[in-house]
């Protein structure tokens, strides 16, 4: 934890500096007759982020915050495995949305999670993995008319559109 605390503070400080730099693309001072410029607000807020990071670093040196005193691992083997399998799974899911569209990606993601991470039976897995995209389709595409991307599976949906619209 102790090392993670200072590394995070450092990374966040870099982010703050980048945000400050990015804000200077617009006027950060007072423009006569127009009030504060467009960069004024984000610049000083990013400066506030930077000051907070310095403060966190000072607390780290003084060993004041709980994470800066802790010898525990920031991500133990369980946490790391979980992040890779679950976080990685969700990342793959979103990437698949570009290719298979939302409904195909939901099917694949639910099979991956429920069958391979959750170790549930195939019938339960398939019931949920097939039922969820159908309900989602009826709710979003049909009822709310929010058309979710279909990727390369678009042709499969054409008869459905004909049926509903």
């Amino acid at each position: 934890m102790r090392r993670a605390e200072i590394i995070t503070a450092g990374l966040m400080a870099l982010l703050s500096i980048y945000l400050m730099y990015k804000s200077t693309e617009l006027d950060i001072g007072y423009v006569r007759g127009e009030g504060p410029g467009g960069g004024f607000w984000p610049f000083w807020l990013a400066a506030g982020m930077l000051i907070s990071c310095v403060w966190i670093a000072i607390n780290w040196v003084l060993r004041k915050s709980p994470p800066s005193q802790s010898d525990e691992e920031y991500l133990d083997s369980y946490g790391l495995r979980m992040l890779l399998l679950v976080g990685g799974g969700v990342t793959g899911f979103i990437a698949l949305c570009h290719i298979l569209g939302f409904y195909g990606a939901i099917l694949v993601f639910l099979i991956y999670y429920i069958r391979f991470l959750g170790r549930h039976t195939w019938p339960a897995t398939l019931a949920i993995a097939i039922g969820t995209p159908i309900v989602t389709f009826l709710f979003f595409d049909i009822a709310m008319r929010i058309v979710l991307p279909k990727g390369y599976l678009e042709p499969l949906f054409l008869p459905l559109y004909d049926f509903f619209f």
Partner: protein
Amino acid sequence: MEVLGLLMDGVFIALDPLNILLMLVGVALGLFIGAMPGLGSVNGVAILLPATFLVPPASAMIFLAAIYYGAMYGGAISSITLGIPGASTAVATTFDGRPLALKGRADLALVTAAIASFVGGSVANILFTLFAPPLASVALDFGDPEIFALMLLAFATFVGLGGDDIPKTLFSIFFGLVMAAVGLDIMTGEPRLIFGDITGFMHGINFLVLAIGIYGIGEMLWTIDTTRGNLTMTEAVLSIDRILQSCKESMRSWKGTAIGSFLGFFVGILPAAGATPGSLMAYGVTKMVSKNPKEFGKGHVGGVAAPEAANNSASTGAMLPMLTLGIPGSPTTAILLGGMVIWGLQPGPLLFQTQTEFVWGLIGSFYISNLFALLVNLAFIPLFIWMLKMPFTILAPMIFVLSVVGGYAATQDMHDVWLMLIFGVGAYLLRKLDYPVAPAVLAIVLGPIAEPKLRQSLLFSNGDPMIFLTRPIAGPITVIAIILILLPLLKLIRDKFKASKAESQA
């Protein structure tokens, strides 16, 4: 008595068949969301907000408020039967609810929780109805400096009363505000903070992208990491007879219910406090004034009633500043406020004049939802307990799916879905290091409102920041905000002073 007439009109609007249906569904969903460990009202409201674009704004708001209420009831179910709080707002309910369940009196605990929640909600509704119209009419005179000062006060409460690490709280607030500034500058229309010239940033970062990222994806990762899949359940024996008998027994806890109802409301109004500290405080006070405080923690009904009354009361309390001033009193109401902006409603005191039907319909729905929540809760307790057996490995992927689809539906741009994932994983990693996430959500909602107020005020005063101190209403508010920000510093100095005094005496 004008208020009574308006309230009757509101109840009438809330009794529209569509609204009744939405309240019933909302309350039931809320109970489920509240009962599920890892999901609370804020998660439910954030993830389901995109689903409400189907119905008119007033009905959408009534639906989301019903979820909010239901979740406050639902949290108790898992606190009592699983021994782990279903939502952070029900932490204090585990202290006495779990021992009661282990003694075989889960039914008494569940019924007491339901009744106390109902009383807490009802008291808060009455207080709300009395306070809201006068507060809104006072706030009508507020200009830009006053509203900015109020926002400053809202953030100051996180620093002074939030109880989290101060620089980390400040970081969270500033981060949310900067994210809100991405997109086109509201006043000049110039593009601002367009990272890597990616066009997706041109339309700004919708608050839902951050809220669903944090409360959908981040929360699931956090729950999987912290619970590691170990849950044990106590069965509750329920029958009509036992429920009636429990009703009688739970009347003995009236003192806890009363304390929770009033304390919860006023704690709920403060943006940084809300239902969780409100219920903990109510538990503490009830224990303090009790004749036999030693029974607390071993299964005292008062220890269940006080926090449950308080968390329901606080959720209504949080609505008060949200509707009258446009300042949310909790993360959940922050998301509701963001929703109102999406629906084209201008939050703030003017709502009471321009959108009377919306406001009073919503207030009317508070009363009815509260009653529905009690009935649905008592009728379906066994069903909710059965649903709690749903393995987390099925619930979690469904939440991920809902988050991704909801994140897309909000803006219909894949760019925002990726951004949501980054925020979700980032929130999980930062939360492990004690960074509070709620202030960032409040900040991204308030940011687009706060910035023009600040710039208008400074333009008005020719760049003199003293405008926030010299105006008659803005002045005192700013002073209180500054005191709150300095509060932790003053405490530190006092402790140092005491320590040195103790040393010199020794």
